[in-house]
């Protein structure tokens, strides 16, 4: 039973760690801020969920399990909320999403580095 739980825990933690690194690499390599929010979403859901699941296998039925469940539930609730707020702020701040024909260039992500946020919010 102990070995079985250890194997489950290893599998969950390794998979979660790999997904964390994948999300972080996507955070570096993806071309604009909306794509990077997608990569951050991978970390916030699969990475965090699987690592906490692996910790929960090691915790057993103790108080630590309840705390892990609270952390997991809280992150799963707040991550989409803060991502939505950030996406809304970026959209009103004048950062337009990349389209297919545009060069996925670092500079085009910073479309208006001087004036985002001030001036009229774009309604499109």
């Amino acid at each position: 039973m102990e070995v079985f739980l250890d194997i489950l825990s290893w599998a969950a933690i390794i998979t979660g760690g790999v997904f964390c690194v994948i999300g972080a690499v996507g955070l570096i390599r993806l071309p604009d801020v909306y794509c990077r929010m997608h990569a951050a979403g991978i970390i916030d859901t699969v990475g965090v969920g699987l690592i906490l699941l692996g910790l929960a296998f090691q915790a057993g039925f103790t108080l630590a399990l309840a705390k892990l469940a609270m952390i997991c539930m809280f992150i799963l609730l707040t991550s989409p909320t803060s991502c939505h707020a950030l996406c809304r702020a970026a959209s009103y701040g004048g950062v337009h999403p990349l389209h297919g024909e545009q060069k996925p260039d670092e500079e085009s992500g910073a479309r208006s580095p001087d004036d985002h946020g001030e001036g009229q919010p774009s309604k499109t």
Binding site: M37, I43, G54, L63, I71, S82, R88, P113
Partner: protein, 96 residues
């Protein structure tokens, strides 16, 4: 025990990459996203360290960090978007 060390290494590598994005992100929103991801990974690192050190009381700290991270991200997003923290001068309809 070594599974916790593996998780800590993976989380630390991810934190480093998120910090790179927060430092060099071209727009301010990239920086906010990098700091938000860094905070989420900090929660994970504290939780893993609690198990690694055999002291699960660290999970309380992780919970508090999760709360602070969420509030901080919402506040900074609202401040950058509106240049104002007072909701009475909200230029756009809607909440958050």
């Amino acid at each position: 025990m070594s599974m916790f060390a593996a998780a800590a290494v993976a989380v630390l590598v991810s934190m480093l990459l998120a910090l790179v994005r927060a430092l060099k992100g071209p727009t301010v929103y990239d920086r906010i996203l990098g700091v938000n991801t860094f905070g989420t990974l900090t929660v994970m690192l504290i939780a893993v360290h609690g198990f690694l050190a055999g002291r699960p009381e660290f999970l309380d700290l992780a919970l508090v960090y999760a709360l602070i991270n969420f509030i901080g991200t919402i506040a900074v997003t609202k401040y950058v978007g509106l240049k104002e923290l007072d909701p009475a001068v909200d230029q756009h309809s809607g909440d958050i």
